[in-house]
Every structure is written in structure tokens, then in C-alpha cells.
Symmetry: C2
């Protein structure tokens, strides 16, 4: 089989292209694409548990834990005991991560526009629907 017909190659290679560009642009704000995922959860839902972040971002628990460790060290998040459940952790934004929201969201919009620009509205819909479907086949 031609490698360019292999779905693993197509996804790995296109993800690599987008990830490299996105990483470079987010570096201006001192964050990585994975950290953007976490910030997006917090900007959208407010204080949230690590397991909810894991569920939204479709990640392993160990990956989320590592991402949160680095973010806490960089003062991008805080972890506190949930006042309603002393055995649970709640993740919150910091002043630093609230301050970069508008700049980071502008980068995300621009990145999406750059990589989706070649496609018609119908093609974008089909692409997104296909990728959702694959994600949910896990």
C-alpha cells in the first residue's frame, strides 16, 4: 500500500505540520499546545477537576497530571482541595493565565483559518465530522 493512503500516516503527518506551527506561535505566550487544551477547558468551564479535563481532551490520566505539574510550576494554574469534597482536586486559572487569554485565542483563530483556508465550507464540515468520528471510535 502507498504510504499516502495509510490513515495513520495521513493523520500523523498532518498533525505534525499543524503542531509545529502551533507550538511556535504559542511559544510567544510561554505555553504548549497541550497546555492550551487545559487553558481552553478552564476558560470555557471555570474551575474544573483533572478527570473532567482528561475527559474533554481525550487524554490519559498520567498525561494530564504531567501537563498540570508543568503548568503549576509556571504559575499558569493552581490546584486546590474541592471545598465540597475533601478527597477531590479542583484546577483554577491564575492571573497570569487569565492575562494571556485574548492573545492566545487570537493565535488559535489564526491557526485554524490558516490550515482550513484551502477548503470550502462543505469540505470543512466533512473533515471535522470525519475527525470527530475517528476520535469517538476509541
Amino acid at each position: 500500500m502507498e504510504i499516502r493512503n495509510c490513515i495513520n500516516f495521513l493523520l500523523s503527518s498532518s498533525q505534525n505540520t499543524v503542531f509545529k506551527y502551533f507550538s511556535k506561535r504559542l511559544a510567544e505566550y510561554g505555553i504548549t499546545p497541550s497546555q492550551y487544551g487545559v487553558l481552553n477547558c478552564l476558560w470555557t468551564y471555570g474551575d474544573i477537576s483533572p478527570s473532567k479535563i482528561r475527559e474533554i481532551l481525550n487524554l490519559e490520566a498520567s498525561s494530564v497530571s504531567g501537563i498540570l505539574d508543568r503548568m503549576q510550576k509556571n504559575e499558569l494554574i493552581e490546584r486546590q482541595i474541592d471545598q465540597n469534597n475533601q478527597r477531590a482536586i479542583i484546577v483554577s486559572l491564575t492571573e497570569k493565565s487569565m492575562a494571556i487569554k485574548d492573545g492566545v485565542e487570537a493565535v488559535v483563530s489564526e491557526m485554524n483559518e490558516k490550515f482550513l483556508e484551502p477548503f470550502s465550507d462543505d469540505e470543512r464540515k466533512i473533515l471535522k465530522k470525519a475527525l470527530f468520528t475517528i476520535i469517538d471510535m476509541e
Copy 2:
């Protein structure tokens, strides 16, 4: 922005799903998805230079070098001096990697069929074309 509209999230997450499945299936043959990429080059083109592999697979030179090191250690490839150019390296298959070709190709076909099964022929064409386009936007 909803994270599920972010193209980096969609590609990373779908790639993660496919990669996990593919890795598990290829483990039966003692190879990884990256190593399959190299074997695909060798099965398709015969003896080939590391830079040609890099070009076909859209990888960094340092990544290819690391993948080839591990494959050589596992007796999946050989590296020899090119007889036509004493400064160049040529990568070749081994008996071990020739022996697993049919089995691995059956896994690749099955993996593609599994993840593309939900889509019509038109949707498959649009998905592949969109991913090619993104890869080439590098």
C-alpha cells in the same frame, strides 16, 4: 473557541486514537508505526537512502536516524555504503523484515478499513485530500 473546533485538537486526538490501535496491532510483529513507515519505503522502492526516507515520510533527519538505529539493532534493516558513492548510505531490508511483510500489510489494510469504514467514498476522498493539503502546507 470550542476545543472540538480547533484543528490541532482534532488532528492530535484522532491521530492518538489511530496510533494507539495501530501500535498495539503492529506489536505482534515487533515493530512500531514509525518503523512501519520505513519498511513501507523499503518494500515499495527497494534499497533507499536515509534522506529519501525522510522526504517520503515527511520527518526530521534526526528522527529518521533514531528510527533506523533501533531497527538495525532489531535486525529489521541493514545500513551499507553505497557502492556508487562512498560518502552515501543505503538502507536495505533483512530476512526478518522481508518475512513479516504480508502479515504487516494485512494489519495496515485492516486498520484503514476499520477507521474509514464509517465514511462514504466521497467523504474518504475529501478527508484524504484535506490531510494531503495540510501536510503540504508545511
